[in-house]
């Protein structure tokens, strides 16, 4: 036992009085057993199957049978020469970029509106956040009905002068992807808003007041005082929306299943189709690896930004 009181400590140790937090842990000696159950789960569910999966990316495994042949980088070669892949990659990047920009811009505007002195702000915040907790597949179905030919959105656009009884957003190759982007932005704009609101609460009122006393108008106050102080919530928001949009699956399955004419096929839906419908699992996993690399690059970029802030 090394947890001695000062009175009983030998003279040499009397210098270690007070907040000895560095050596405290050593004195407490936390047993490794605390971490064992979690590490077993993690190894068995995340690490081992993923390593196995990565190996299968270099095979022709169908995902079901027991026949597995090593084919080297064949999957990656055919992947990069397939127009389906380049299409899905492009759609995924377009969605990720558009969703991230729109969701953060709308989230920031909503947060600014709600951080003011309006009386209904708590009610509005609750209503705006509600879609975040809803089941994505259900959200997808609700919007499919709104976008249905002759439905609410089509009638609305007809009023504005669209031809043929209004727009059929999800039925046209040119607009379907924007329909899905709108659905995702609608569902998660409240999430971005809440993270911005949390960031705004950390800004001391004295700072903006001082700027106001110096004669800065509300636009200038935002541009030179508030916005520079919102860097952390912005980075969190961008990372969050990028990662969710790279994994986009439920909303696509509920609305277009990747159609019309593959125009809304994402890397996730393509992976699902290859691995589970066409039984080309190895090929699907090769795709999954590309998603992983994209997410890893983004996450490391985010960590770098955080580090730079010091």
């Amino acid at each position: 036992m090394s947890s001695t009181t000062d009175a009983a400590a030998p003279l040499g140790e009397r210098t270690r009085v007070g907040r000895a937090s560095r050596s405290a842990g050593a004195r407490l000696r936390i047993s490794f057993w605390f971490a064992v159950p979690a590490l077993v789960f993690f190894a068995a569910i995340v690490v081992y199957p993923t390593v196995q999966g990565v190996y299968y990316a270099f095979t022709d495994w169908s995902g079901l049978g027991s026949e597995i042949n090593f084919v080297g980088i064949q999957n990656f070669v055919s992947l990069f020469s397939s127009p389906d892949t380049s299409g899905a990659l492009w759609h995924t990047l377009l969605m990720a970029g558009s969703i991230t920009i729109a969701q953060n811009a709308i989230g920031l505007l909503l947060a600014m509106g709600l951080s003011s002195r309006i009386r209904s702000r708590n009610v509005l915040r609750t209503l705006l956040f509600a879609p975040v907790v809803m089941t994505p597949i259900i959200v997808g179905y609700v919007w499919q009905f709104i976008f249905v030919p002759g439905g609410a959105f089509a009638q609305f656009t007809a009023l504005l002068g669209a031809k043929d009884g209004g727009l059929n957003v999800l039925g046209e190759t040119s607009t379907a992807i924007w329909g899905i982007i709108a659905i995702v932005v609608w569902q998660y704009a409240g999430y971005s808003m809440v993270i911005y609101l949390a960031g705004m609460q950390n800004i001391p009122e004295e700072v903006t007041e001082a700027a106001a006393l110096d004669g800065a108008g509300s636009v200038k106050r935002f541009a030179f005082v508030t916005w520079p102080l919102l860097r952390t919530p912005t980075v969190i928001n961008i990372t969050l929306s990028l990662i969710t949009s790279f994994k986009l699956f439920d909303q696509v399955i509920a609305t277009t299943q990747g159609g019309p004419g593959n125009s809304t096929q994402t890397l996730s839906t393509l992976l699902y189709n290859e691995a589970f419908l066409y039984n080309r699992y190895g090929y699907g996993i090769a795709l999954g690896l590309i998603v992983f690399i994209l997410i890893a690059v983004i996450s490391f970029g985010q960590m770098r930004v955080f580090r730079e802030r010091g």
Binding site: S23, A24, G25, A26, L28, I30, S31, F32, F34, A35, A38, L39, F41, F42, I45, Y48, P49, T50, Q52, G53, V54, G113, L114, S116, I118, R119, S120, L124, T126, L127, F129, A130, P131, V133, T135, P136, I137, I138, Y141, V142, W143, F145, I146, G151, A152, W186, V194, I195, A212, I236, F249, A254, L271, Y272, A275, I285, L289, F292, A296, S299
Partner: protein, 274 residues
């Protein structure tokens, strides 16, 4: 500065209009199920004129939502309990061990956040089949306990690092063992972050679609999102009935949200600060 000026009034009006437009899909979700197909087709924007409940009766009897609710509750509750127990214990080691390995293990587990679960999902499916767990809700529970561990550990470890170590030292001086210190001193202090973990893990497990579809599809153990998927596939022509099913399927989480809204929003807002 603090007076309610005419400008604030205009902003208030604008925000209320924006929110009203924003919640239109929610209004659809609530109103369409109470109307018959003909009136929906005539005017999709309209309010229900009478409480037409046939859609709900049909959706409930034919939709199979009852058992699906039970499965979802069971899977979500057991998964979250496992996550809280193993996540809190592991984070105690990660937050307090001074050796190099504590932070190394933490880094490895936290990096699990980035792994797209689709990569391991099929090899795992095969392992579950070999173990005789195919179509068993346990397979999804075990999967959840592994896949949501990174976020859980990040939340718990970040929180524990802010707890002053003196409490534990005092407990040790009083002769408490390692486990006793954790159980008596740390666990009671973890209540706020445990709430956040339950909210974030619970909501995402409840809403999860891909894995339950793959592991439980076609069995009597499907969860609500999977049941809704097959239900819509079956009745897609009858919007009134579909929406009655969608509304019923959304009710548990929406009721939870509107009752605990302040708390749940705070959980999401603080969730990723780490």
């Amino acid at each position: 500065m603090y007076r309610y000026t005419w400008r604030t009034g205009i902003l208030e009006a604008v925000m209320i209009v924006v929110t009203a437009v924003f919640v239109f899909p929610l209004w659809m979700l609530i109103s369409v199920g109470f109307r018959d197909s003909a009136s929906v087709a005539r005017n999709p924007f309209g309010a229900p004129t009478s409480f037409y409940l046939d859609n709900f009766k049909l959706a409930w009897t034919q939709g199979g939502l009852g058992p699906a609710f039970f499965n979802s509750f069971y899977i979500t509750a057991v998964s979250v309990v496992i996550l809280v127990v193993i996540g809190a214990a592991a984070s105690y080691y990660f937050a307090r061990s001074t050796g190099r390995w504590g932070s190394r293990w933490y880094g490895i587990v936290a990096a699990g956040m980035m792994v797209p679960f689709q990569i391991g999902v099929l090899p795992l499916y095969r392992a579950f089949t070999d173990a005789g767990l195919a179509g068993n809700p346990l397979s999804v529970i075990i999967f959840n306990a592994g896949i949501h561990l990174p976020l859980t550990v990040i939340l718990y470890t970040g929180f524990m690092k802010q707890i002053p170590i003196e409490y534990e030292e005092a407990a040790r001086v009083d002769g408490a063992g390692g486990f006793q210190t954790f159980w008596r001193v740390i666990v009671p202090l973890l209540l706020p972050v445990t709430g956040t973990v339950i909210v974030l893990d619970g909501v995402s497990i409840w809403n999860e679609f891909f894995t339950p579809l793959l592991y439980l599809g076609g069995t009597p153990h499907v969860t609500v999102p999977v049941q809704i998927y097959s239900f819509v596939g079956e009745f897609s022509t009858n919007w009134g009935q579909v929406f009655a099913g969608l509304l019923m399927a959304s009710l548990p989480i929406l009721i939870m949200f509107f009752v605990f809204q302040r708390y749940m929003i705070r959980s999401f807002g603080s969730g990723l600060k780490g």
